[in-house]
């Protein structure tokens, strides 16, 4: 047979337009903190504000990748990714709170302020170890991962799929939100954590620290993108697509779909946790509002708008919807909800493959 040239075709025939868009976008992002250092008179000057906003979008981009991996590739529509994101954020927030140390208003060497005035006398056990940065980062990944592992194992094992899974994960998010709003949980209740001082020995309220955090987020985005690409281009990625389209058929092929789905769900939750951990020092506050079920759904719609099942689409969606939101909430706050709601409707009805689908049409895939 001479047909030895037959090789598996690349999964993402990422059109040149898309790949160019992705690279250009990343390059522009990488330039922002540099442009921020220019004198304000310069045409290219970028304000602190833009840097801060873009930093957040980067975190949202990682979250979108995580959702896309689970939903776009494996067909797991989780409405709980906002919760994984928030858990990662809380882990980082706990570390930042521990680092405040005696600089709190009560000057207690160990206890955060809110614990002091709520009458705690010693640090609750969930807080142990969070003074260490590696431990906190580990927790930011492990806690969402473990939660996803438990919920996923219970659900996938019982063959709970589709909307049932969505409803269950939404209930999980809702229960977590209620739990974190409780002051008795020892996580600061409604106020959450704020007034952070430093990270890794660097004061947070300096331009340099902000730029460093920005680059950390950008690097994390790059790493996440590569990781997701690794997964989706591997045979595992093809198994995921197969599970998404015909799960029971995959089972009859001898794949244990429970473990396949579970592994990607856990990985996805950990990525969301990573995004949350980067988000918190960038914006300086974490509170239970991040658990609200609406946030998770909103993040899903970023992916739908961009185009699920493609990594570029997830990023494109996260950035474009958030840019639209930033713009609209400033200039027409009343209209924003109509536009966002309209997006949900329009994308599901007319653009099932999102913006990427639209861009690809020209390329005749």
């Amino acid at each position: 047979m001479s047909a030895t040239t037959i090789t598996p075709a690349p999964r993402i025939q990422g059109g040149t337009i898309l790949r160019g868009l992705l690279l250009a976008g990343l390059a522009i992002l990488a330039m922002l903190p540099v442009l921020n250092r220019l004198p304000p008179e310069s045409v290219l000057y970028v304000s602190d504000f833009v840097v801060a906003v873009s930093g957040k979008w980067i975190c949202y981009g990682i979250l979108a990748l995580a959702i896309d991996l689970a939903w776009g590739y494996a067909g797991i529509l989780s409405l709980g990714h906002g919760a994984f994101f928030a858990l990662g954020g809380y882990a980082m927030g706990m570390h930042l709170m521990r680092l405040i140390g005696p600089r709190g208003v009560y000057g207690h060497p160990v206890l955060p302020d809110f614990m002091v005035f709520l009458g705690y006398t010693e640090l609750p056990w969930p807080w142990w170890g969070f003074s260490s940065f590696p431990y906190a980062m580990l927790m930011a990944l492990l806690v969402p991962g473990a939660l996803a592992g438990i919920v996923g194992w219970l659900a996938f094992r019982s063959r709970i799929t589709g909307v049932y899974l969505s409803i269950i994960t939404q209930a999980m998010t809702y229960a977590l939100m209620l739990a974190f709003f409780r002051n008795d949980m020892g996580f600061g209740g409604n106020n959450g954590f704020t007034d952070f001082k430093e990270l890794l020995g660097v004061p947070l309220n300096t331009a340099g620290a902000r730029a460093a955090l920005f680059y950390a987020a950008l690097v994390a985005l790059g790493v996440s993108l590569l990781l997701c690409r690794l997964v989706t281009q591997s045979k595992l990625g093809r198994v995921l697509v197969a599970v998404r389209d015909a799960e029971s058929r995959v089972r009859f092929l001898g794949y244990n779909t429970t473990s396949v789905k579970l592994s990607v769900f856990v990985l996805s939750a950990m990525l969301a946790g990573l995004a949350g951990a980067l988000y918190v020092p960038l914006i300086g506050i974490i509170n239970p509002g991040e658990f609200s079920p609406g946030n998770s759904i909103e993040a899903v719609i970023w992916v739908a708008v961009g185009g699920r099942g493609t990594l570029v689409g997830a990023l494109l969606g996260a950035f474009s919807v958030n840019a639209l939101k930033t713009w609209l909430t400033s200039f027409a706050p009343d209209l924003w909800l109509f536009v966002l709601g309209g997006l949900f409707v329009a994308v599901t009805l007319f653009l099932p493959r999102g913006l990427v689908g639209l861009l690809r049409k020209g390329e005749g895939r």
Binding site: V163, A171, A175
Partner: protein
Amino acid sequence: MTRFLRLLAVFLLFAAPLRAQEGFEAVVAGLAGGFAAQAEAVERLGALGDPRAVPILRALSEGRLQKSPEGALAIDGRDALTGAPAPTATEAIRINNRVRGALRGAFGRLELASASDAERAAAAAGLFRARSPENIQILEDALGREANPGVRATMERALAASRLAAPDAGVRRQGILMLGGTASPEARGLLLEARTASPDLAPEIDAAVAAIDQRLQLRRVAETAFQGLSLGSVLLLAALGLAVTFGVMGVINMAHGEMVMLGAYTTVVVQEAFRGIPWLFPWALPLSVPAAFLVTAAVGAGLERGLIRHLYGRPLETLLMTFGVGMILQQAVRLAFGAQNREVISPAWMQGVITLPGGVEVTQNRLWIIIFSLLVLGLTVAAIRFTRFGLEMRAVVQNRRIASTMGIRTGRVDAMTFAFGSGIAGMAGVALSQIDNVSPNLGTGYIIDSFMVVVFGGVGSLAGTMIGAFTLGLVNKLLEPWAGAVLAKIAVLVGIMLFIQRRPKGLFALKGRAAEQ
């Protein structure tokens, strides 16, 4: 007849032995003083028993009594004592809780002989709280004439309470025995209060309290059960529409909560429209039910025809899209009605407490909501079982293709089914307007719970939805006292999640091939 009774009352009051001869006018003048002086004046007016005091005290309690800078009292522009036109430049006399409490006692004495059962009962209740030994005599007299058993019971309690305050230990003991025979938490409170005042009677009081506690124990269980049923009925109402759209049609409607919200706003609109029509106004709430059904059914039909039908077979997309629809509806209502809560007035027949046999006190509005939820459930079942529409709906659900070959217009049936489910949600909104805030966010608080109820009960089973709703309501209320409201709710959510993974099809699973599609 009424006049005769009034005369009789006047006669009896004047005959009261404890009446001290004081200048009526002088006492009345005290009503213009500070809160302490007011309270004292009210008490003395009650003790005087002069019927002329009734309209003055009534005016005082309703904020219509006014005083001139000179201290003259006037009601509605006429002198309170003489009835002559009063000078202008008067200021309304304000009262506080202490005065209100004194007023209650005074009305008790003054109106114990009223012709109206309700007023006599209220008067007796007032005397129960005033608990002065001075009232023993008039209560005994009133009991002698009283025929209404409900009022008698209240009077007896008041008499017992008054005796408890008597100086004579024998009389007090009588009072203790009488109170021990009741199942009233207030009586229990009185007894405990008396315990510190009269340690000599402590053994009797303890026995009486123990007797009351035993009776209260049962009642407490009944009341917790009622609270659970009430929460269950709210869940049932919220979930029933979903049980139709999700359970029967398989459509995930995340805008379901907004349908409930629209129903509540329909209630507001109907109420505003009827505000100017006094004879219709009391009917605003009942009339809101069909109105809300029609409005939300119309919105539902539009939603199904316009959007949802394009996504049949793609439940995840339907979920996302309807969530967007929900946001749009919310914001539209917010812009149209404002973000603030809207006020919905409860009709008189839905306010207050009624006492069931066994002394169990339940709030009227919640009782009505329980009844209403069962009615709606009954109507839903009837509509599905016994109407042509229900038959067509079941046919389409079971086999769309065959149904359509038999001449059923499946598209129309889909639209009607969805409209029907939405309409039920709208009726739920009418009920919820009575216990929750009517705001654009009303629905979001119920959507997750509704889905939980439907999934827990078993998708496609109305009986499952009902049993699921009441089970969750009861469990929640049983957990609440020792876990607190939030933990109870979290525990219920986690419990459902675990339950569903044990039985993915819920309590009442459809079995067999049909369920596996």
